[in-house]
Subunit: 398 residues, 5 copies
Amino acid sequence: MKQSIESAKEVAHATSGAIAKTASFITSSILEVGKGVFSPLSRSHSSAPRAEPGAAPGIEQYIHKEDPSLNVDITVIDYGGSEHTTRTFDDIDAALAHPRAANPHVRWINIDGLRPSVVNAVCQYYDIHTLSAEDVIHTYQRPKVEVFDDHMIVIARQLQLANDTLKNEQVSFFLFQDTLITFQEVPGDVFDPVRKRLLKSTGRFRSYKADYLFYALLDSIVDHLFPLLEAYGIAMEEMELEILEDPSTRSQQKLFSMKRDLSLQRRVLWPIRELTDQLYRDESGLIHPDLKTYYRDIQDHTMQVIDLLETYRDTASGLTDLYQTSVGNKMNEIMKVLTIMASFFIPITFFAGVYGMNFEYIPELGWKYAYPVFWGGCLSMTLGLAIFFWRKGWIGPK
Amino acid sequence: MKQSIESAKEVAHATSGAIAKTASFITSSILEVGKGVFSPLSRSHSSAPRAEPGAAPGIEQYIHKEDPSLNVDITVIDYGGSEHTTRTFDDIDAALAHPRAANPHVRWINIDGLRPSVVNAVCQYYDIHTLSAEDVIHTYQRPKVEVFDDHMIVIARQLQLANDTLKNEQVSFFLFQDTLITFQEVPGDVFDPVRKRLLKSTGRFRSYKADYLFYALLDSIVDHLFPLLEAYGIAMEEMELEILEDPSTRSQQKLFSMKRDLSLQRRVLWPIRELTDQLYRDESGLIHPDLKTYYRDIQDHTMQVIDLLETYRDTASGLTDLYQTSVGNKMNEIMKVLTIMASFFIPITFFAGVYGMNFEYIPELGWKYAYPVFWGGCLSMTLGLAIFFWRKGWIGPK
Amino acid sequence: MKQSIESAKEVAHATSGAIAKTASFITSSILEVGKGVFSPLSRSHSSAPRAEPGAAPGIEQYIHKEDPSLNVDITVIDYGGSEHTTRTFDDIDAALAHPRAANPHVRWINIDGLRPSVVNAVCQYYDIHTLSAEDVIHTYQRPKVEVFDDHMIVIARQLQLANDTLKNEQVSFFLFQDTLITFQEVPGDVFDPVRKRLLKSTGRFRSYKADYLFYALLDSIVDHLFPLLEAYGIAMEEMELEILEDPSTRSQQKLFSMKRDLSLQRRVLWPIRELTDQLYRDESGLIHPDLKTYYRDIQDHTMQVIDLLETYRDTASGLTDLYQTSVGNKMNEIMKVLTIMASFFIPITFFAGVYGMNFEYIPELGWKYAYPVFWGGCLSMTLGLAIFFWRKGWIGPK
Amino acid sequence: MKQSIESAKEVAHATSGAIAKTASFITSSILEVGKGVFSPLSRSHSSAPRAEPGAAPGIEQYIHKEDPSLNVDITVIDYGGSEHTTRTFDDIDAALAHPRAANPHVRWINIDGLRPSVVNAVCQYYDIHTLSAEDVIHTYQRPKVEVFDDHMIVIARQLQLANDTLKNEQVSFFLFQDTLITFQEVPGDVFDPVRKRLLKSTGRFRSYKADYLFYALLDSIVDHLFPLLEAYGIAMEEMELEILEDPSTRSQQKLFSMKRDLSLQRRVLWPIRELTDQLYRDESGLIHPDLKTYYRDIQDHTMQVIDLLETYRDTASGLTDLYQTSVGNKMNEIMKVLTIMASFFIPITFFAGVYGMNFEYIPELGWKYAYPVFWGGCLSMTLGLAIFFWRKGWIGPK
Amino acid sequence: MKQSIESAKEVAHATSGAIAKTASFITSSILEVGKGVFSPLSRSHSSAPRAEPGAAPGIEQYIHKEDPSLNVDITVIDYGGSEHTTRTFDDIDAALAHPRAANPHVRWINIDGLRPSVVNAVCQYYDIHTLSAEDVIHTYQRPKVEVFDDHMIVIARQLQLANDTLKNEQVSFFLFQDTLITFQEVPGDVFDPVRKRLLKSTGRFRSYKADYLFYALLDSIVDHLFPLLEAYGIAMEEMELEILEDPSTRSQQKLFSMKRDLSLQRRVLWPIRELTDQLYRDESGLIHPDLKTYYRDIQDHTMQVIDLLETYRDTASGLTDLYQTSVGNKMNEIMKVLTIMASFFIPITFFAGVYGMNFEYIPELGWKYAYPVFWGGCLSMTLGLAIFFWRKGWIGPK
């Protein structure tokens, strides 16, 4: 049983390094995972500025409070036809002002680090509502789509492992006809495969506008959820064995964390599902009808992830039952040992006590074979009890 | 583990004093929180007059029964353009009769203290249905919106901490084109940030009418739910440790109260969600179309709070499971100690009893090394049992 | 804790005598409540005639089987303008034939006691479908509305306390333009406040027809549910303390009954909610459009009762968890006592046994200070165990 | 408590013999009920031929495999006006060919025993789709309605008690304008009351066509569910007492069977509800509009049965909780006895052991009143413990 | 009880060899079933190539990575009129290029083994979207339907037993007017009965086009789920006995696996239900209207399987409760033995100890009949306790 899991794990190792890494991480430090995702503590931790409740809505109030030490990396990628240029800027105005070549028809501005003044500058330049700008800054948004006249705001979340910590990061997309702006909290994302494909910028990247780039990024976010969830699946199979063998406090805690994690992932995934539905039924005209098939593909993948998640939630709740009955079984085992030990020795201890009494007239005391007879009595009594317990199935091979 | 929570809490302290205060309150006196929210007892407590079941509907019946000692504070704020005046009245007729300047185009009448005659006077003056007037007095309404020809009645609830007690207070809004009337049960509310912003009354306050003021107040109510819920989140993390270490009766009670609180908050939040949906789809024409974005923002925030709440409910139910298995584990630990103690000594006590017997012919009694042999036998028996228990994993390092 | 509940209860007493009475009833005899509501036993009890399954539908079959000893009280109230007359009849034909004055425009015929022939006479006179007549007789109907050409049949249920017994009684309404007929199972109902208001028959009673009378009666039914449910709330708070202090079999049984009661009340309330929705969206034309606000008010109240009920169901299920962990905690406490007692004495009993052995050569026996040394050994061993248990937190102040 | 149940049961006996019979059956042999309903085993038992998975659809394949020993009873009832004839046939062709009198306008062909060739002959004659014919043969269909051009196929199920066994039998209806064909698995059904009413064939039987006959049969099926479910209700009340007094393995098993039964009945009842909805909204034109009221009546009854069922499911799940806490309470009681016994005697046994030691210098041994002092010590120690336990509430009157 | 199950099983054996085989498989190795279905491990096992997250969508990327050792079996069946030819190919181009006879109007290309280049060739030839091609390769799709201009893509899953292992295999259908292409992961499927029927290709196979063939295959997939689920039903009945008799760790594990299996099957079945709904409401025009009845038949069967599945899930959750209370009952039994043994002997051991004391003045020691009186005391004390336990119902016949 254990072996088959091991060998299976080898295969898993071979096929995907990422999964194995995730699994080992989860089994070793699942507790931290729990703490890392969406918990209020980690939110207070985050660098996201928090408005006072009741303050005026909009991004303006954040600009004066902004942390000047916050690094902002701006990358502008222009591509189209056979051309592809990547430029990095420190200054947002320079980036926005940078002229677009005639040829390349799509510009992707990726901004890592949420400095309010930078977000505001982009929103001013592209004429975006101040509440949307605030949503970018408030990094605990629910995934959602908002459609405006010539653009669309999409808030999504990327769940990924970085340095053995689960990063739950908000990604905001501003989608225009031929421009896509993405905001991320910190550098490091799940978009590298897309960047590589952009370098070639062949095929569909050439034929479609920013809508295809947006699709590719969103697809990458959803695709990265599969190895993450599979790691939970592996961790749960290992936990099953652990619970059956030794239902310790540690496994109890791990199981609780796992359930909490799954419940939190659920909170991220269902809104993402609604989001993909909305994108598929796109009413903005920003997404080329030919790309609908691609967006439906993301929808399918999201449903697959959710199916997996719901099944894992079911399994986790089954594991809780398993744990409870396992604890009960352990208790039965312990009690059986106690009962058997006590039942074997308590009666014969009494008889030994009887013949240790100092009454003057205890006839047995003077009998010649009294002592061996006493032992014989003890042994047969114990044997009788042993048979009784064996019949009950408490001792002997099962 | 504990340390990380501590340090995290320091950060939490730094960022938001309100959260820390809430958390300490909750962990120390969560029981009272439970009692304070929506429980029938506290309802009987409240100063809200209660009609006899089956009495005639409408506010008329309450006027004659009203408590003359009840204080009523009436504040009238007129603002618009660059002007802003705040007047306080004791007498409702004076307040209503006070002439409006030509310039200021919005009047906000805030009334703290629900005296039936005052409510009736307002409703007479503004031609509001007597059943709506009764709803203002009956402070246990479900949050709701009712649309009339030239006005809209909105019943909401503000949950906040005041003097370490959770206040669950009904707020009633009467929204007209350029007038907003709010009724609160007692002085002290979550609207102070809005009052400060009104003082400047720049920007959107100047461009829109009462609809924007109403938005700002509602937004303040919803925004104040975040620190409240986060406090529960922190309390739950602390409880997790407590349960794992020592599943006492006290933590059991705290957990029960927490679950009840969350279930009660749910009862407040879902209707608020429906309410925001209705406001967003406003059919009254009282809300300027440009403000829809703002109302959608409240909707988003409400959904975020509900998401958080549902996750916490999940977590609380996980904590119950954790508690139950933790109790089972404790029991196993106790039983192990008993079983080990009993198993170690019960057999050798029997042997000591045997050699305390007074049979005349017990050959061992006269042997020279019988006594050390006896000890040797006891020690090896104990050692054997120790090995048995160690193999079972009951003793020794885990 | 207990004190605050007590003082709160005093307040509760002061404000509403009915609630207090209900609560004391429930805590003392909640078991009977359970049995009284909707349970099949009590149904067999009821005087409602039961048709053989498969018998012809309609009221005809019941007439010949009717119990001649059944009392029927018929009250006819005519009101309108400034007039108001109340007449009681024994004979239904006389009641129906009694001429209506020109002035009074509404007639309310209330019939207590469901004699099939009487119901049939009314239905014949007012041309009502035989299946509706049968529904009146079959007193275990689901609350419902049925709309016909010139009338409407509404089946509701009134839950109330009479003589410390929960009465769950079916009330059937036949609503015409200017006539309302109500059928009740037994005398005694929740309509007395309405009768009192009718006596004055001012205001809205004068302006509207039977639709307002019908509203007033239905409103009285729903309003009477509040004190009933609040009594359950108080009973549950008391149970919480009881469970934490002493989770006895009795509280277990009470809790089970309470859950069953709530589940049964739910079965009554949800259909009543549907019923009020239907009345609000009235398609019969029998309800004056101006009265919609009143019917919406009933709708709101029903939703409030259901919200309360669902919260109580949540709480009851939390109490079950509380009970289970409380039993587990009790067990732990018992086991701790046993383990501590056994661990303290089992080892030293062994040592006493050792020195009671009769071996010839036990050097210690002859030592001068052996006896005090023995006691010293026993005490230090016990002390060692006491420290061990104290460290585990099993003994000493918590 | 027990008494009131007993007396209630007497009443129940008096009112309805059928219920009492059912209840006694259920309490004595509930296990078999579980096995009898819809369980796969009983399905394999059934005489229904089973097609190989993947075989060609339609009834043709069954004809050659049919069991020639299967009895088929064909009854043809022609009624209308004042005439009523009942004929029985062995041969389906003779039955179909039998000429219809001019007068009687409705023919009801009832066929007991599902011989494929007979079903096929009927379907050929009446031009019914081969898949519908197969549905008749496959007696594990979900209740459903299928509407065709001039006829309607309705599959329902009758649950009834026969020879103390729960019969869950499929009934298939082919409804034409003036012909109704019913197929049943075995002789014996719930239609006898309808047959009796047909004999008179007065009233509505004379005025309507086959649609009224169909209504009467369906109504009889639904009406027979009430006594069945009530029997479960009585059984559950008895189980409550049993569980509180002695939570044995047997009651555990009975409870499990009951829950399974209810879950299975639910599987039958919800589709029947959909079925009645569809019939009420009839789009086939086969049901006279005047009969809608009757079909709505069935709908109401089905909803009542389902309400009852869902409440019972709630109750059954409450009983499971009750059982679990009851087992825990029993355990606590057992442990209390053990702990009290052990605590009383373990310390004083040690003291007896001490004075049984053979040390040379034990001063107490020579004291004159040592023996009574020893007894005094033992008694006071025991008394002290007794007070301790009494304070804890473990001994003495509750 | 056991007997009846046995005899029932014999009947089951007789009627269907497949069911019996399944059942024995499940009861013996249910654990492996659990692991085999949809678990992440087995997915990593599968030969399905896995794209890097974020890679370009479409099948192109897989072609270069394809495993050259993968066997592909291509079978082309042409049928129609009275002709029927079956040809097998190794090379996909040859298969596609093979000319179609004039007469046979339907071609079924079945491909076992998912080699990307082969799938790509088919998609190129039939002009199928590259994302659909990728879905064929990615064998962990959710069952779904996608409608295109002249064809329809259906992804389904076949669950079947092969060599005592549960195979959960994806089947992809490309449905054209007169061509059906099916892709399967490995050779061996549930379609053999359809192949046999094709050989005759009479009746409906001749009259309809590829739509009927597609129906027959899908019907075969759904029909094969019945014996599978029935096997779980039988296994659960056996488990019920096992749990009641001896709630071992093994049965706990089996139960957990069963629940997981059912939860996973649910994940397959609900999308299949949606799929059949979509096919029934077909909007593509590819399915002949006359066949709607057949597709509705599949729909009915799917609903029946799901009903069965949901009931089994209910039962499995009831079994978990049963297990937990059964463990509690076992514990009670063990504790009773311990308590009875300890209570019988602990008091009399104390008395024996008393008379073993060495006090100089113990008057009883010198009494003549002290010894028999002692025994008498012990026996009567034990008898007293026996009566006490017997009254409590702990000993003696139940």
